[in-house]
Symmetry: C2
Subunit: 355 residues, 2 copies
């Protein structure tokens, strides 16, 4: 969809003024795209800076005693709270479990903090808590500490959940977004765009012929299977907010490499592709909650793809691109028409409150 | 203030129907009092139950490898965001550092997650981030991972912050709210009510002759000094939401003991006492953010109080009561008039959004 990419480019240009000049937060600051990166770089990193945070991976990894631990946090503000394929409760568990798994960590413990709006129905809270508990059981994590706050009616939006997770990282693993090297292969675990389109369809009351379900799922098992197959995984990312484009752009920028992907190799379900065309969305920018992208050594790619395809969460895994040297930080895509276009960070926020 | 206690009792009675009968969340569910306990007991614990959570301390303590770790989470929805003596940023660091310290943990790492409302001024966010960073430096913790979400205007209230913390617990420590034993002494670190009254005064635009400042401060140093003086500390709590009454009631309930305190021994600043009288509030129910209550073995009380008084955060520390056997779960106070009254859990929410 080259037209949308051009539009995104134009938007990116018009939004390129430094955040110091912006006076107020806009929805795009939560998009996982360019404005989110700006907010992080211009407001948070200058004051919070430390070696663990500055790595800018989806999780911090540190040593305590003899153990290497991963820690990650996410707040969930998804709207609607219940959607085809999941709800804010299961999503809040999967999102944090997956951010731990992307660091190679075995998820162990979660905290759960709720901000409730006065008037929120208690039966909905029960359903959401039960869904969280089920998702935690499936992922083998325990919710060990929590908090509940209530704000006045009109000062929240039903329910927000924060989950923070701690996991154990095997001693030899050193995966990070700065580890990609020229020649590496880019592997995608399955079709993209399901979560974002499922949310949008439910939110806007759209009816598609085929029901589109969120792919919200825990990925720790898939990661364990990949690590059992090979130690040559440089980096894992789950392409959530901002979609595949954000994940690849972050890796390219942090590793100082370029990444080339091929449109024809990227699986998109027919019904998701149709919805995207109808809505004017590019699947590369649409959120996923049960997919991962892996940068791996070229000689290990075959074994890793095979291990992924043997796992229920990676049945359609395949190599979708390669890492290059020139034009550091740039992600390009060879389109179905044979041309090449730049895949930039999302400029604004095409789908607010997706997670 | 016996009248208020009677009112609280009546309210408690009228609110005593099980939560299953309530259809909607009310502000009191976030009070740290009776309704908060009900929500936890009736909605969250039944589905999340596990040995770590069921301990119901302010932090979970678990082993990873050879290390014992503490983990705790809190969301901060305080209103206003800036108040005399602090702001939501420093409060978000102190609150979580203190919940770790109450488990005897040395705070190590924090996560920080922001839910911003569209339109929030970026310069306020910068001030708050700088305040968090300063508080983290003072407490010796690093903010190692974070998240930012944005919700539409009218769907939030400026800014909510979640912090989750991880700390290291010395191997020999076994402090918990279920460890109080008859004969133990109750120690309070200083005057109560400062935080709640500072917030309320600012929120309501009240002018007092003397400015009342929040006591928001990190308590890890005070706890370290106490632990250096004695190993005979059964339990520590910081009396935040719900005030001293909530902290003592939780300990009494979980240890299956009674607690008797003496009103004349509980320090309350003159200006806080005056404000409470004017506003019809009981200082026992007003939040603190830089105080702690300790249950200690009787023979250790002298040494612990001496160690506390030698620390800047415990200058006015003193024994305010004792632990008894009969009437398990009950907290009573000998009033200044010589009578005895029950100090119950807060029934509703006298001061919403205090932290």
């Amino acid at each position: 969809m080259p037209e949308l990419a051009e539009l995104a480019e134009q938007l990116a240009f018009s939004c390129a003024s430094p955040i110091g000049m912006r006076e107020r937060i806009v929805l795009g600051h939560g998009s996982g795209g360019r404005l989110s990166a700006e907010l992080l770089r211009d407001v948070f990193l200058p004051v919070f800076s430390n070696p663990l945070l500055d790595r800018m991976d989806d999780q911090a990894i540190f040593s305590v005693g003899e153990s290497r631990l991963a820690m990650t946090t996410d707040s969930f503000v998804v709207k609607p709270l219940f959607f085809p394929g999941g709800d804010i409760g299961s999503l809040a568990v999967h999102g944090t479990v997956n951010d731990l798994a992307m660091g190679g960590a075995r998820p162990l413990f979660l905290s759960a903090a709720f901000i409730l709006e006065e008037g929120f129905p208690v039966d909905q809270l029960r359903r959401i808590a039960a869904s969280m508990a089920g998702a935690a059981r499936t992922a083998g994590v325990a919710i060990v500490t929590g908090d509940t706050k209530v704000v006045e009616k009109g000062k929240g939006d039903g329910l927000f959940i924060n989950t923070t997770g701690v996991g154990l990282v095997p001693d030899h693993l050193r995966m990070s977004a700065n580890q990609a090297r020229p020649g590496d292969r880019v592997i995608l675990s399955g079709p993209i765009g399901d979560h974002g389109i499922a949310i949008l369809a439910k939110r806007e009351g759209l009816e598609f012929e085929t029901k589109i379900l969120s792919d919200s799922a825990p990925l720790d098992g898939l990661v364990a299977a990949m690590l059992a197959a090979s130690n040559d995984i440089r980096c894992l990312r789950d392409p959530t907010r901002g979609g595949l484009s954000s994940a690849l752009n972050e890796i390219a920028a942090q590793s100082g490499v370029s990444i080339q992907i091929e449109e024809t190799k990227i699986p998109v379900r027919e019904e998701v592709r149709g919805a995207c065309e109808m809505l004017g969305l590019d699947p590369l920018y649409v959120a996923n909650e049960g997919k991962l992208v892996a940068i791996v050594a070229p000689e290990a790619a075959g074994a890793i793809v095979a291990a992924m395809r043997a796992h229920e969460r990676g049945l359609q895994a395949k190599v979708i691109g390669t890492v290059g040297e020139a034009r550091a930080g740039q992600v390009t895509m060879k389109t179905a028409f044979g041309s090449t276009r730049i895949v930039d960070l999302l400029a604004g926020d095409q789908l607010p409150r997706i997670c």
